[in-house]
Each structure stands twice: as structure tokens, then as C-alpha cells.
Symmetry: C2
């Protein structure tokens, strides 16, 4: 079984790859990690091929989507903040490349499982009630627009039998290791990660702001689960809201103070950033993920356990 | 003021052009009617330029989207039945050309009004309640998918200030003059038009089927209105459900018998067509168009007046 992961060198892609290698220990499962920079993280692992590829280059991508491709994880994206700042780049990667990838999958002898990482950014207008799969999308960013279009394509390509698609709307992932990125939500991890590493952090929104988050572990488990849910259980609607934990920024900071000490939490400084607020405050913070839950997708227990597992992994 | 109409040689495009010429009688308003076949219907009218153009040909389209373009009506589409049968053609015209047209508009010195003809086919799953602009799209055809994507693009391009967009979801237009087309809804006009012209007609769905329709006159008035509604009144959601009259096929046929005679209505034969049913029965038949109504869009009074105005125009 060949599994292709776009964005395979990224934070999520690498974690997913490791998890899939463990899940399928046999030599017959191979992974191709496609990204704009090849990752060296799997050097010496014969079952992993890391490929540097501009996924908007159709010919290059076509060489990777070979007839034995059974599963595609399409994680690659220009994140929200960057897609807003660089519209053409966002169009090229988030829109055109997604369509190209689906077209290449359509050409395969058997329709592959196609797991598309979508986002709560398809919603907007700060919905007051918990959003469901019956809530109209209303993206307030080009990133959210492009993800909503990807969902529609995945549904149509699935309906036509070209792929066996699963578009999963990921909550904000926190706490992420590594450096800040250009996602508007990057600060949600940053305000925990940086203070734990002894560094100052800026919080661009108020304590009262509610966010729906998921730990990297839960998201990766849910991504693995996504390719295994039977098509019949999904039916014709291939778009799923993944569960997320609703927590305020204030609760996160209080948990940090409790777990790591008030001096650590004191490294956070509040400085409103209207550009970030304009995007983040329109995202839904209350999710009705009952369909995903009934299909076996997971949710984190509470924020403290998320924070402690980040500390454990980071060795802090 | 230059007004560009794609699909300008079509049934709706020609009617819209005539209406706009009457609305703006001055010499300064010019129309460019773009279609895969140039219409000769406006020969001798100096204010109309009819152009044959494959709108998926970017270079050809670019020559028409000139800096003086103030309004674009994007009506051209591969209709539902054909887009389902010829997927690549639908993608090329309904998806790629729509994006190209928006991109060309983005390059204009001032953002043009951009009226996009969308469709109730963005909905699916035979919604029981009246659909609103807060109802999630759920297209069950590639045509509906492509229209839903067009709406998302129009919203994003409007949000970014590239165009001043208005995506209007048209109900089924009936009674259309002319020949049947490959829209799955073509029969809704056919079962009235053909009998009135002394010809037999086949009805592929049962009498009980409810449809939401709009007369050509009402749709054209609403399209004209669409480019004039102030942007501020529309706000950030540029997608509008246009009003439609909810009527059953049986009521339409009874009206035909009453207005034109039982012998005329007897020319309709029922013969179920599952391919048509599969598409048409998932479309919403009850529309909550209260936003459009409050913005001044029109609705037909009843089916009898729709039928009588078709007869009047056809001289029957």
C-alpha cells in the first residue's frame, strides 16, 4: 500500500507519517512525503521516500501519483495569514494544486482514499451557535474560501467515484512544537510554547476569546482514522467537522500558570492585532462534531492534558 | 458604460441585453455579448457587439475585458445535464472560465459589478424546510458543485475588492421559449411549451413534484436589479436566493388545461426518467428569499400569469 502525503515535511505531515509507519509495520506499506522542501527526518527508513516538489507543477506531481497509490493525504497548504497576504500563491497551492491532485487521482486504476485537510476557517461571521455540517460556510479569508472549494471538489469527485474522499475540518492545532508560522492562529500555540521555553510571547487577542483546539496527537489519530472509516458510513456527505475542545485564551493561560508556574505565564504580553482578530474572531469556537464522534473520531479530554503532553514531548 | 454578458447569445442573455438597452437608452452604454456562437439578433444595433469566443480561452477573453468594463454578467454555463455527462467540459467552462473571468476583472482599473448566475442546484438532499442563505450547500451534481464554487470565488473576490460581486441563485426558469436544452430541468418548460405548440411532451417526474420557478421576465428584471443594488445593502454575503414561485407539476398542468384547454394538456405523457429525477428531486422547491425581497427583487404573482405571458409573447 502506497500512501502519498502532501505537506509531508510539515509539522502534521511528519507526525502522521510516523504514526502510519507504526500502524502498518509491514514492508508493503510505503510512504511518499511530498513537500516544497524534502524532509531529512526519515533518512535511513527504507519505507519512506521524501520528495521535494512544487505541487502546483502538474508534471512533477504526476510522477508521484502512481497507479499503486492507495491513499492520499492532502495536507499541503499556504496557511491563512500567508494566503491572505499572497493571494496568487494561495490560489496556486490551495486551489489549483488541489484540483490537479484530484484530477491525477481520477486517472488512477482504482479510486484512492483521499483525505483532505480542511479547516474551521470555512466558517465566518462568528457564529453564535455550535456549527454543524448543516451550517452554511461563510469564509472570511481566501484560505477559508480555498478550503471550502476543496471540500466541494472532494465531495463531487467522491460522488462520481473518482476518489473515495474524506474532507476533515481540523480545529486549530495546539500546542504545536517548532517555530511560529503564518497561520492567523499561530499565536494559540505560541503563547504556551514560547513561555515554556523561557521566551516572551505576544497574545494578539483578549483573554475572553474562545477557540476550538485539538492536540497534535488527537489530530493525527483522527487523520489516521479518516482513511479507514468505511465509505458507506460516510454516505454522500464527505465533509466532517472534527471534534475540538472549546477553551478560552484566559483558561489556557491560567492552566499554564497552574502547571508551569505564574512566572512562566507572566511571559505573555497582550497586544491587540486587528489583522489577526479580523480572521480568528470569525472562526467558530463551538463545534457540533456529533457525526464525527459517532464515526469514532477522538477529542482531547481537557486543556491540562494537552499542555502536559506537549511538555512531555518537549522534555520540559 | 460597457456591459459584458457571457452567454450573451443564449435565451437569458438576449433577453437581458434587450432589457438593458431599454433601461439605458443613451449612446454611452454599450453591450458586448460573448458566447460560443455569436448571435445575429442585434444586427444593426450599433450599441451591441456580438462576439464568438470560447470563454475558456484566456487570451480571447482578455481582449474583451477592457478597462472600460463597468458591469459583467456571467451567465455562460454548461447546463446541469450536460455538465454531468461531460465532466471535463463542465470543469473547463463552469469552473476554469469563471475563475479566469474573475482574474481578468481583478486586473481592471476599477472593480466592476460582477453578476454571477448561480443556481438552486447548489442545494441537494431534498431539503424539507425552505432553504435560506444560512442553509449549507450540498450539491448533488457537478453543475451544482461548480456553481457553489463560483459563489465562493465571487464572495472572496468581492471581500478583497477585486470585483463588486453579486451571485444570484436563479430558480428554474419557466416557461422558456425555444428548444429543449440539456438542463435536467428543461422539461419544466417543455411540458407547457410543446403542448401549446401542438406537440407532444414527456414529463419525466410525477404530478406531485414541487418546483420553484420564475418567469423569464421576472428573472431578467432581477438580473437588472442585481447590478444596481448598493454594495452596502448587500454587505459581505454576496450570495442571494432569488425569489421563486413554488408550484407542483400537477398544478402547472391543471393551469394549462384551464387556460389552453384539456386537449392541450392531454398532449403530456408521463414517463419516469430516473436520471432526471436523481438531479431535480434534490433541488429545493421552497425558497426563503426574504433577503432578496427586502432588497427589492421581484417574484411572479402566480403560475397562470406566467403561462399567459408566455402565450402572449409566443403569439399563441
Amino acid at each position: 500500500m502506497k500512501i502519498l502525503i502532501t505537506g509531508g515535511a510539515g509539522f502534521l505531515g511528519q507526525r502522521l507519517a510516523r504514526r502510519l509507519l507504526a500502524e502498518y509495520p509491514g514492508a508493503s506499506t510505503t510512504l511518499v512525503l511530498v513537500d516544497c522542501v524534502a524532509t531529512g527526518a526519515f533518512a535511513g527508513e527504507p519505507r519512506v521516500q521524501a520528495v521535494e516538489c512544487d505541487i502546483s507543477d502538474r508534471a512533477a506531481l504526476a510522477r508521484l501519483v502512481t497507479p499503486d497509490t492507495a491513499v492520499v493525504y492532502h495536507l499541503a497548504a499556504i496557511v491563512s495569514g500567508q494566503a491572505e497576504a499572497e493571494f496568487d500563491l494561495g490560489r496556486r497551492i490551495n486551489l489549483a494544486a488541489t484540483e490537479t491532485l484530484l484530477e491525477l487521482c481520477r486517472g488512477l486504476p482504482a479510486p484512492p482514499k483521499f483525505v483532505f485537510a480542511s479547516s474551521m476557517a470555512v466558517f465566518g461571521g462568528a457564529p453564535a451557535d455550535a456549527i454543524t455540517e448543516q451550517t452554511a460556510v461563510y469564509p472570511q479569508s481566501s484560505y477559508g474560501t480555498q478550503k471550502a472549494i476543496g471540500e466541494l471538489l472532494v465531495n463531487d469527485y467522491s460522488r462520481r467515484g473518482f476518489v473515495d474522499g474524506r474532507a476533515v475540518r481540523l480545529p486549530t492545532i495546539a500546542v504545536r512544537a517548532g517555530k511560529p508560522n503564518r497561520a492567523a492562529s499561530s499565536f494559540v500555540s505560541g503563547i504556551m510554547r514560547e513561555p515554556l521555553h523561557g521566551q516572551p510571547a505576544v497574545c494578539p487577542v483578549g483573554r475572553e476569546v474562545l477557540v476550538a483546539i485539538s492536540s497534535p496527537q488527537a489530530v493525527v489519530e483522527n487523520l489516521v482514522h479518516a482513511h479507514r472509516v468505511p465509505a458507506a458510513a460516510l454516505g454522500t456527505n464527505r465533509t466532517l467537522i472534527l471534534p475540538g475542545l472549546s477553551v478560552t485564551i484566559g483558561e489556557m493561560i491560567d492552566t499554564l500558570a497552574r502547571v508551569a508556574g505564574a512566572d512562566v505565564a507572566a511571559r505573555i504580553r497582550f497586544e491587540r492585532d486587528e489583522a489577526v482578530e479580523r480572521i480568528v474572531l470569525t472562526w467558530p469556537a463551538r463545534l457540533d462534531a456529533s457525526r464525527a464522534r459517532s464515526l469514532g473520531f477522538q477529542v482531547d479530554a481537557d486543556f491540562e492534558s494537552i499542555l502536559r503532553s506537549f511538555q512531555r514531548e518537549a522534555g520540559i
